[in-house]
């Protein structure tokens, strides 16, 4: 055993170790990464495989282990170093893959490329690994640490620097405590140094209580000596001879590794008595925590080490650097802080400051977890924009889900929404947003996360962990939690939000310790940035993310804008009761054929079956039922209530207008719908192409509405709303949609052969002849652009689509884009129109500029371009599909109805009332283009409001619906076995291109029943 009695001995041994390693460098080396997660993912079996294979093939290769290198998403990972081709990382290995790696790579020197990690990803390239640089060494072998200059920092400090110089260097580096508060480390050490006492202590806080943070665990498991060395240097600097590492008991591997490392260090005279022969004495004791988050607070921690309850000391109290553990001057720092010390001493403060910002120097490790594609442990320079970590390195949420917020700082921190995601990750900037840097846990949240539930989750945690001493925390936090529980149960009120804020601010200001001071932060930030979610829970009794279980049974029904009884009709389909299923749908939805074909199915996004295998094909099942009903001539006869004398005028016979007509007529009112076009159906009739929705179906459903007694007057444009009141109508609902196209305002826009998309589609749907050229260019990236392109293709032209967005950013639905590409239409991404070119007065092409970015730092649509990167796309016809606006010129301002910019009508989002009494507005004309089911919901909401208005009731935000489960719906559920969705088939692309026939084929009866069997019947949960 090498006892290092002097610095020279250390240096000599270092050289020997390095010489040995040089010899080994001619051999292939396998490092199996075996942190806690690696082991959980199966790394032990991988290690065994490698050992066996290498022995069996008698290869002269080295196999070693290390802790985790932070590639959590891809565990188990293995690094292979080969003298001939350097170092690669294999990801997601299973033992079956090992033989090939051994043969092809270790023996043959050629990596198995398809299994290798792509290290050109931003996840890797944006990192600056200093703390994590040694994660690949074997933590059980001190030699490997020493080979990387381990303990050389200590040697330098003990023999070349005075205690003051060490503290000076740490101060100059600007190192801030990495535990969360960011207090300047040098200043803390100086205070302890100055304290007059010959017994002092150094404590490493390795409690890491923040759920979602494990940076410290990885360093303790992977590079324990860096912490030991850092503490020893600290002990020297402040004058302490005893150190403690307070490790949480939930980290058994870290505890084992630390104990082993400390023992090895002692054996080599790097710890304990007479370190490196300098006479300096310092030892470390490892103390296990016992599961108390509050013991992360400095005074609670010291009390815990004393064997007592970890209850923070009351104020006023002396600084821990003066009176700490056992009443002695104590320095308490985080694992990462200590791990930074040897680097700072060895390489100097200036080196440390080379990265980071002026007041937040250096790097920081972060655990990127939650709803993120590339979850892992990363180290980045402070000052990096948060968006780079979450979106570039992390890749944003998986499965195409929308990013919502990132939680930083754990239960003491706050959430950062999209519009602030460009914030610089440094101590000051983060606190300005109401959060704290914390120890480094970053939890990404997406559209399926409820912010109210998340706030409640954190409060539940801090409530459990509160020590109970002071009233603000002990009583205040449970009170806040009660309110949040009430809100998630649908029993909250708007006053509760004010109470939450008031309570929260008071608890922050008056709590005894850091736990209470920061516990309300998650709630306060959630309220600040996501107030609309709280309001939805309170006013609408809805949880938009479909998480708060007490508000609903089945998530599909809950997120459906018309709250259709999805589990009900699927259960009926499963039993073969198709007529009942159809009638159940018709009770709530007057246009099931339409929705069955073109709905954007938010229900499927929340279908719980999606967590097992695939979500149910709900839309397609609805389509099946409606086709069946059509075939079997099923007629749904709605029940009509008694005749009321009031008359209602509806302007616009689109889905919103007709849905309102349907509901109002059922209530007994007389309804007249005024439509300016020669056909009814609105955008569904004149906007949606026939290959997505056959027009006969709409015709049939509109006929059914007319049969109820609704009068639809075609070719009747309304110019004056007041006149309607004069004619005896008691209320008016404006649902005229958005049928105008937006202009680009670029040169050449007024040439012939340039069409507005909405007008183009309308003319086709009305049967008018449209003459297109041979080469059509469609400008736009949304669904409407896809509609235009595919329609133009069917008229015989060659079509190209040009859009600002990259393929990931395109707003059109994924399945629409897929079908478009299948039909041979090419999409040119990231180009913005500059001007339309012409020859002899005829369109000859489109000049475009390359897009620099579509969205700005706040995530808002704000395209910027490279003005000098210009190219030309050839074409003789242009179709503009860049957006729509309403034609509300018929609304005179004097009427009292307010209009927003571009003409959108301003109405209350819940009651749909405008400022003019008796006039309501809804659908696209208010919200801008949305989906058909949202228009139906708006129509139903309008009908509800109008009824209340006419009955002199107060307009209320909630729509009343009767519970309509009048059919026998079976209660049986089968065992869940994994089974993917029954495939929905499309017509072959080659056949589709030349006809406007519907692209998607319906299910057969057997297919429908088989798919319906997959439903988990979430509505039956007790």
């Amino acid at each position: 055993m090498k006892r290092l009695e002097s610095v020279d001995a250390l240096k000599k041994w270092t050289d020997e170790i390095r010489a040995d390693m040089l010899v080994c460098e001619s051999k292939a080396r396998v490092i199996v990464h075996m942190g806690t997660c690696g082991i959980a993912a199966g790394a032990e079996a991988i290690l065994d495989s490698f050992l066996k294979e290498i022995e069996a093939k008698r290869i002269d290769a080295i196999v070693s282990q290390s802790a985790c290198i932070g590639l959590c998403n891809w565990e188990p990972v293995v690094t292979v170093i080969h003298p001939r081709n350097g170092r690669v990382i294999y990801k997601e290995l299973v033992p079956e893959q090992v033989p090939r790696i051994v043969e092809q790579h270790l023996q043959g020197g050629k990596a198995v490329e398809e299994w290798v990690m792509d290290e050109t990803m931003p996840f890797f390239t944006l990192q600056v690994r200093r703390i994590l640089a040694n994660q690949d060494i074997d933590p059980m072998r001190i030699e490997e640490y020493i080979a990387r200059d381990g303990y050389h920092g200590l040697a330098k400090a003990l023999t070349e620097m005075s205690r003051e110089e060490v503290i000076e260097e740490v101060s100059k580096s600007g190192l801030r405590g990495r535990g969360g508060a960011g207090f300047p480390c040098g200043r803390k050490w100086m205070a302890a140094y100055r304290a007059q006492d010959n017994v002092k202590y150094i404590i490493c806080n390795a409690d890491e209580g923040d759920p979602g943070a494990y940076m410290n665990r990885s360093v303790l498991e992977g590079n324990p000596h860096s912490v030991i060395e850092g503490m020893t240097i600290g002990g020297y600097a402040i004058g302490a001879r005893q150190g403690f590492i307070y490790v949480r008991a939930e980290y058994p591997l870290a505890v084992e590794t630390l104990n082993h490392a400390a023992a090895q260090a002692r054996e080599h005279r790097l710890l304990g008595k007479n370190i490196l022969g300098t006479g300096f004495e310092f030892d470390i004791d490892i103390f296990l925590g016992a599961g108390a988050f509050v013991c992360g607070e400095s005074t609670a921690l010291t009390l815990s080490i004393e064997g007592k309850r970890g209850m923070p000391k009351t104020l006023p109290r002396p600084r821990t650097t003066e009176v700490g553990l056992l009443g002695k001057p104590t320095v308490l720092n985080n694992v990462e802080t200590f791990s930074s010390i040897p680097l700072i001493i060895l390489k100097g403060a200036s080196w440390y400051k080379e990265v980071g910002t002026e007041s937040s120097t250096g790097t920081k490790t972060f655990c990127l977890v939650g709803k993120v594609s590339n979850s892992g442990l990363v180290e980045v320079p402070l000052g990096i924009p948060m968006s780079q970590i979450v979106l570039d390195m992390g890749g944003g949420p998986p499965e195409g889900k929308k990013f919502k917020a990132v939680q930083i700082g754990g239960p003491s921190g706050g959430c950062i929404p999209r519009e602030h995601l460009s914030v610089s990750v440094d101590y000051q900037s983060i606190s300005k947003l109401g959060a704290i840097m914390g120890s480094g846990g970053l939890v990404v949240l997406d559209e399926d996360t409820c912010m109210v539930d998340t706030a409640r989750y954190f409060l539940q945690f801090t409530k459990d962990e509160s020590c109970g001493q002071c009233i603000p925390c002990r009583v205040g936090i449970p009170r806040m939690l009660d309110i949040l529980n009430k809100i998630t149960e649908g029993k909250g009120s708007m006053e509760d939000l004010d109470t939450l804020e008031e309570l929260g601010e008071m608890i922050v200001a008056t709590s005894l310790c850091g736990l209470g001071n920061t516990a309300p932060n998650p709630v306060l930030t959630a309220l600040r940035y996501f107030r609309d979610e709280f309001e939805a829970h309170i006013i609408d009794k809805k949880c938009p993310a479909a998480v708060c279980q007490t508000l609903f049974r089945a998530p599909c029904q809950h997120v459906c804008p018309v709250e259709l009884d999805v589990p009900g009709y699927i259960a009926l389909i499963k039993e073969g009761k198709f007529e009942d299923a159809y009638n159940l749908i018709r009770q709530r939805l007057p246009f099931p054929s339409i929705c069955g074909r073109i709905c954007h199915h938010p229900c499927e996004a929340k279908c719980r079956r999606g967590q097992v295998d695939d979500p149910l094909a709900i839309k397609h099942l609805k389509r099946f039922v409606t086709d069946w009903a059509l075939e079997h001539e099923v007629e749904y006869t709605p029940q009509l209530k008694g005749g009321k004398k009031e008359k209602i005028a509806i302007i616009g016979a689109g889905p919103a207008g007709l849905s309102a007509a349907y509901d109002l007529t059922r209530e007994g009112y007389q309804v007249t719908v005024f439509e300016s076009l020669p056909v009814a159906g609105g955008m569904v009739m004149v906007g949606v192409p026939r290959y997505r929705l056959a027009k006969e179906l709409i015709g049939k459903e509109i006929e059914a509405i007319k049969k109820m007694g609704v009068e639809i007057k075609l070719n009747s444009k309304i110019e004056d709303i007041n006149a309607l009141f004069d004619q005896g109508y008691n209320a008016v609902f404006i649902a005229t949609g958005a049928h105008k196209g937006l202009r680009l305002n670029i040169p050449g826009e007024d040439l012939d052969s340039i069409y507005q998309c909405v007008e183009f589609l309308r003319r086709i749907n009305l049967g008018e002849e449209v003459k297109l050229g041979k080469k059509v260019i469609v400008i736009g990236g949304g669904n409407v652009a896809m509609d235009a392109a595919r329609s133009a293709l069917r008229l015989g032209s060659e079509v190209k689509i040009v859009c600002l967005e990259s393929s990931k950013e395109m707003p059109a639905w994924e399945w629409e884009i897929d079908e478009t590409l299948e039909e041979g239409i090419s999409i040119i991404h990231s180009r913005g129109p500059r001007r339309i070119l012409s020859t002899d007065g005829k369109v000859s092409g489109l000049e475009v500029m390359e897009v620099r970015a579509v969205f700005d730092d706040e995530g808002r649509f704000n395209p910027t371009f490279y003005e000098d990167k210009i190219s030309v796309i050839e074409g003789d016809t242009i179709i503009l599909a860049i957006g729509q606006s309403p034609d509300t010129s018929f609304i005179k301002e004097v009427g009292g109805i307010e209009l927003a910019r571009r003409g959108w009508i301003i109405a209350d989002p819940r009651t749909l009332a405008t400022k003019k009494k008796g006039v309501f507005a809804g659908g696209d004309v208010v919200t801008g283009p949305k989906s058909v089911v949202e228009a139906v919901a708006a129509g139903q909401r309008a009908a509800c409001s109008i009824k209340r208005y006419l009955e002199s009731e107060e307009l209320a935000p909630r729509v009343e619906r009767e519970d309509e489960r009048t059919f026998e719906i079976p209660l049986l559920v089968e065992e869940v076995e994994e089974q993917s969705r029954v495939t929905v088939s499309n017509v072959e692309p080659s056949q589709r291109k030349s006809s406007f026939c519907e692209v998607t084929l319906s299910y057969t009866e057997e297919q429908a029943r088989e798919e319906a069997r997959r439903c988990l019947r979430c509505d039956l949960e007790v």
């Binding site: 806690t36 016992a290 979850s375």
Partner: protein
């Protein structure tokens, strides 16, 4: 059974353990924070901390029993209730919460009919929650009998539990 008889029953069981417990106490007596160290190591040995053991520790370390009890009740780790043969620990960390562990917890509650901190009647499984294992990259995590399982859902859980006899 009378209270005195119950006490004697437990003491009989623990007789051999008492010897080891006394060793633990003497090894740690002089160390800082001796009480917590002793409690941790004792619980590791016999899996819980019954009142009789606490009395012994209190006497030997000369710490009032009320203070010992105060420490035991303060820290989440210590339990005075015997655990089952296998402890099922559901992680309630943020990443695990967001990725579905509440549903796993509910499924376990329903399956065994026990609450957090309780043990099944046959003594096979105990249900606990852990604040965070620090394996967030593999969330949601459930630990059964010391074995970590990743990316768990109620269906997988059922299968996993059948492996524990």
């Amino acid at each position: 059974m009378k209270r005195r008889d119950m006490k004697q029953e437990v003491e009989k069981e623990l007789l051999e353990d008492f010897e080891q417990i006394r060793n633990i106490i003497s090894e740690n007596r002089e160390k800082t924070g001796a009480l917590i160290r002793v409690l941790e190591q004792t619980q590791e040995l016999i899996s819980y901390l019954p009142p009789q053991v606490l009395e012994v520790i209190s006497k030997d370390l000369k710490i009032p029993l009320s203070e010992v009890y105060g420490v035991v009740s303060f820290y989440n780790f210590f339990t005075m209730v015997p655990k089952g043969k296998y402890t099922i620990e559901v992680c309630m960390g943020t990443a695990c919460h967001v990725r579905g562990n509440p549903r796993n917890l509910d499924a376990l509650r329903k399956e065994f009919g026990i609450e957090i901190g309780e043990t099944t009647k046959d003594g096979k499984f105990s249900l606990d929650i852990i604040r965070c294992f620090g394996c967030c990259g593999l969330s949601p995590i459930v630990r059964v009998g010391g074995d970590l399982y990743r990316r768990v859902n109620p269906t997988k859980l059922k299968r996993i539990l059948t492996q524990y006899e």
